[in-house]
């Protein structure tokens, strides 16, 4: 084991605590179907005061829970299955679909990165905010690869998820966008899993299109962002 500063018992306790809190919130959310009771948000809100009160710094928490972190990689590989399922269904119009989603990815990365560099002037934060329209596991993997800050990415993804999922459908109705495919693809690419869950409740067709958008957008982002960020960066130095 690589645990130097912390003993194994503390480490197991912290991992167990994280698991228990998360699973309890997830269970309650499932049971009562409350979308705002986000297990990740509630777990973090509960864990941070606990860590601060017990003088556990982030480095030792991260080291203690490295088991959970290690599972992130195989879990991300598992997303290949929904990707496979969705590819079967977009055969007829894949060219237009990929072109539209890729343009969206380029647009959202460019404006998020530029606005953050202009207002906050920190590259790590700009990278994190550029990856907010991606499903969480892929967002975290890409942020770490580009040396951004993955905790900011995780939060940004959650804010993008809630704002777009709750207000997006009304906004689209207001600007006269009515087709299931347009509503599903746009809310799916902007608000990923949270958008997908909310749309699926009211209209399964929209929910299905949003799953297509969220998985394809994430793959497109993985190819686009390592090229786009080095192009944008010199503009702000």
């Amino acid at each position: 084991m690589l645990l130097e500063n912390i003993n194994v018992v503390d480490s197991l306790m912290l991992t167990l605590l994280t698991l228990v809190v998360y699973q309890s919130v997830a269970w309650v959310q499932q049971k009562w179907q409350l979308i705002w009771l986000n297990p990740m948000m509630i777990t973090i809100v509960a864990l941070i005061p606990y860590l601060l009160l017990n003088n556990i710094n982030y480095a030792s928490y991260r080291q203690s829970t490295q088991g959970l972190n290690a599972l992130l990689e195989p879990a991300t590989v598992a997303l290949g299955y929904p990707l496979y399922q969705q590819l079967k269904h977009i055969k007829r119009y894949w060219k237009q679909l990929i072109a539209i989603l890729a343009l969206g990815v380029v647009l959202v990365i460019t404006i998020s990165f530029s606005l953050t560099m202009l207002l906050i002037h920190q590259k790590e934060i700009a990278i994190a905010l550029s990856l907010k329209s991606v499903t969480t596991p892929i967002g975290i993997a890409l942020t770490e690869q580009l040396q951004g800050d993955s905790s900011i990415t995780a939060f940004s993804i959650m804010i993008a998820g809630f704002s777009g999922a709750l207000l997006g459908p009304s906004w689209l109705r207001f600007i006269n966008i009515k087709s299931d495919i347009a509503i599903g693809l746009s809310v799916g690419s902007g608000s990923h899993v949270i958008g997908s869950i909310i749309l699926s409740k009211n209209n399964p067709h929209q929910g299905a299109y949003s799953s297509v958008a969220l998985i394809i957008s994430a793959v497109l982002t993985a190819f686009i962002i390592p090229v786009l960020v080095p192009l944008l960066l010199p503009l702000f130095s």
Partner: protein, 122 residues
């Protein structure tokens, strides 16, 4: 049980291949190469979709807890949130709506006639 082991071995092989690819040609993170290889193997029929279905759905619906160690990192960013919290939220919400509007308009114009039934993946 047999299918669970099948899924675990399938994912492990794809992740290992992803790691090899990542160290050979860089580019994408290893887990993303693994994901694409997994999808590719399913497409080629080298892996049986029915065998991975159940365990795979379980992994996806429980993966959220793996994000917690990364997300707790905000503990080191109270200063940033105090100074720029509003700016960060405004940037996120604004760009999310730009994206939703952009994709919505294009899809309505170019794809709304091609309504084809799709099934929900997860």
């Amino acid at each position: 049980m047999k299918n669970i082991i099948y899924t675990i071995i399938a994912i492990s092989i794809c992740l290992t291949a992803g790691k090899l690819l990542n160290s050979a040609i860089a580019g994408l993170p290893a887990s993303l190469y693994g994901m694409l290889i997994y999808c590719f193997f399913l497409q080629l029929g080298w892996l049986t979709p029915d065998k991975v279905h159940k365990a795979n759905q379980w992994i996806i619906s429980h993966m959220g807890v793996c994000f917690i160690p990364a997300a707790v990192g905000v503990i080191n960013h109270f200063e940033l949130i105090k100074n720029y919290g509003y700016a960060i939220v405004v940037i996120i919400v604004f760009t999310t709506f730009v994206l939703i509007t952009f994709i919505g308009l294009l899809a309505e114009k170019y794809l709304s006639t091609k309504s084809e039934s799709v099934t929900k993946g997860y």
